[in-house]
Symmetry: C2
Subunit: 344 residues, 2 copies
């Protein structure tokens, strides 16, 4: 069978089947944002890992190495945040082409540590090796939470309200602007130069959101510790896909009001320079690293007390359909449109 016909999620399902639980200590294994492992009766270890590959996840003509280091921590911290955990330790591996100067690699670690230290996550190990083709990054982050604070993707119930932090679509729009800028300059340019050369303050904000996302670790922890949410995920694939993950694992459906999806002023102002409508980036863009979570009626009072800047965008429903109500009040299917690495 070809990988393209199996698809990324098909492959994961197969791997999961091949890797059935061999330890009673595994509380959450493959299939959630992070693995949750019982370490002592009171505390759970969280472990998550992500690989970033040049030409697939990033392009050195549209990012500097400091931003790349920052982002490689951010994407993993975001997974810890989505479990409501506290990050503790990082391990990072790099496969480095001989064309990359050492100083740039150190810049990578500077960016890495800048964000990791903000969240009190210590770099405690890793691996470095040569690469025949392109830069490859693998980061593992270990965190902790408490058994009673753990939030998975599978706890949403019909009637729960759906919330999202921050604004969506900025990162995907920022990436488009960066790529357009890079093409227009024809030669390889560092992202900072692109940013400086052609853009408005709004566009800079979109690009910043793409290059240096801020993982919502504090909010995730607060939501978990208040025990007010029934399910949570971070938005890495895009709202439609990630809400789809919650619904699939919670065996539920959802209805989203398009008019309530939070869009930034920067995204709305930049729309003339963008190929698609702002809502499109919010639904399908991905790489927002915001938190998407569901709150049952019984949790609403505790949630409100947290004062987290989150927008209510819809409701969990019976059945398994994902629907969106557009500006004219019409219900349409909301199709998961996230990136499948093996689909093409």
């Amino acid at each position: 069978m070809k990988l393209s016909s199996l698809g990324e999620f098909g492959l994961i399902r197969k791997i999961r089947k091949l890797s059935s639980r061999t330890s009673p200590l595994t509380v959450i294994g493959i299939g959630d944002d992070a693995a949750a492992l019982r370490i002592s009766p009171a505390s759970l270890l969280l472990a998550t890992t992500d690989m970033l590959v040049e030409g697939i996840h990033f392009n050195l003509s549209t990012t500097d190495l400091y931003s790349l280091g920052w982002k490689s921590v951010a994407v993993n911290l975001s997974d810890i945040a989505a479990m409501g955990g506290v990050p503790r330790f990082c391990l990072t591996s790099l496969s480095i082409p001989s064309s990359v100067p050492a100083e740039q690699i150190l810049d990578f670690y500077r960016g890495f540590n800048a964000l990791a230290k903000t969240h009190h996550a210590a770099l405690v190990g890793g691996d470095t090796c040569a690469s025949g083709n392109g830069l490859i990054i693998s980061v593992t982050i270990l965190g902790e939470t408490n058994r009673k604070w753990l939030i998975t993707r599978s706890g949403a119930k019909p009637g729960d309200r759906i919330f999202v932090t921050g604004t969506l679509g900025d990162s995907a729009a920022g990436m488009e602007l960066l790529q357009a800028g890079s093409r227009s300059q024809k030669s390889e340019v560092r992202s900072q130069k692109v940013a400086a050369s052609f853009i408005s303050r709004e566009e800079k904000r979109l690009i910043q959101k793409h290059l240096r996302p801020e993982p919502r670790v504090e909010w995730g922890k607060k939501i978990a510790q208040a025990r007010c949410a029934s399910a949570m995920i971070d938005i890495s694939d895009g709202l439609s896909s990630d809400l789809g993950h919650i619904c699939e694992q919670s065996k539920a459906g959802a209805i989203v009001h398009s008019g309530k999806v939070p869009l930034s002023a920067a995204l709305l102002k930049a729309k003339e320079r963008l190929k698609h409508a702002p809502l499109q980036y919010a639904l399908s863009g991905g790489e927002d690293y915001e938190l998407l979570f569901t709150v049952p009626p019984s949790g609403m009072k505790r949630f409100a007390a947290l004062n987290i800047p989150a927008m209510e965008i819809g409701t969990i429903t019976r059945g398994r359909k994902l629907l969106i109500i557009d500006e004219d009040g019409e219900k349409k299917p909301l199709k998961p449109t996230g990136y499948d690495h093996f689909a093409r």
Copy 2:
């Protein structure tokens, strides 16, 4: 500064400096076989990660995917073994070129799980993505040990005796045979076919040691729990390099008797087909995944009671020199000759 002039270990030192301890929970961070992290007063979490890159660490013309999965666990388990730990969990990431069929990827996980399950290590997470160029593997293994059982690289003292498990050099010799076989067949061949087509039982044993190393997890655990060793490392770079790591971190020297370095009957029998003398593979070959450790006089009785098949090959000395006594009784410098990814 170019990476080639900084070198792999220079780079690691720089990264280490940039990543100074930010958490009092880090007992062992960058620079040992695995990170040791305090989780509860009684138990330490061990975390180790390794990246394997096609064209750098392996070649698909001389390995099958099952063996590759096996080996990618083995190299990490070996690091846990060298800390005297008990493996618990694995995370693995793959970046996969579209040319690799799904079945081969599943074979990778079969080989991975075959060895992981033997050691009761559950696969609990990871990442899969596309690759523009070649297969890339990143594995993280988490393990546990007890504070009082922890063995690092830095505890060796003058007068301690140096031991090594198993036999050395087989893996490097096996790799040479595989590469020669692959070249002689001109076209791409699977390792099993190479193994079947041209080799004696001895040569098959060398190739097996290269493709499917057996990490010494049980022995490492016994040595740790008997509290009889002062320092321990696994042999991944080669005896000369890895003994060099122990000496450097223990601020000591060592003297090794070449006649005592354990060589397998298979290696000695295959020597006509090999480019170098058997001892050369043992000193510089690497990828043996045996344990190298030092035992102080006070630990000898407890160590002997363990009945572990290990050979005494020399003694830790004052000063910082690494010496080898050859067959004629002459002392010569023993130069670390391990692979430096960025040296060439």
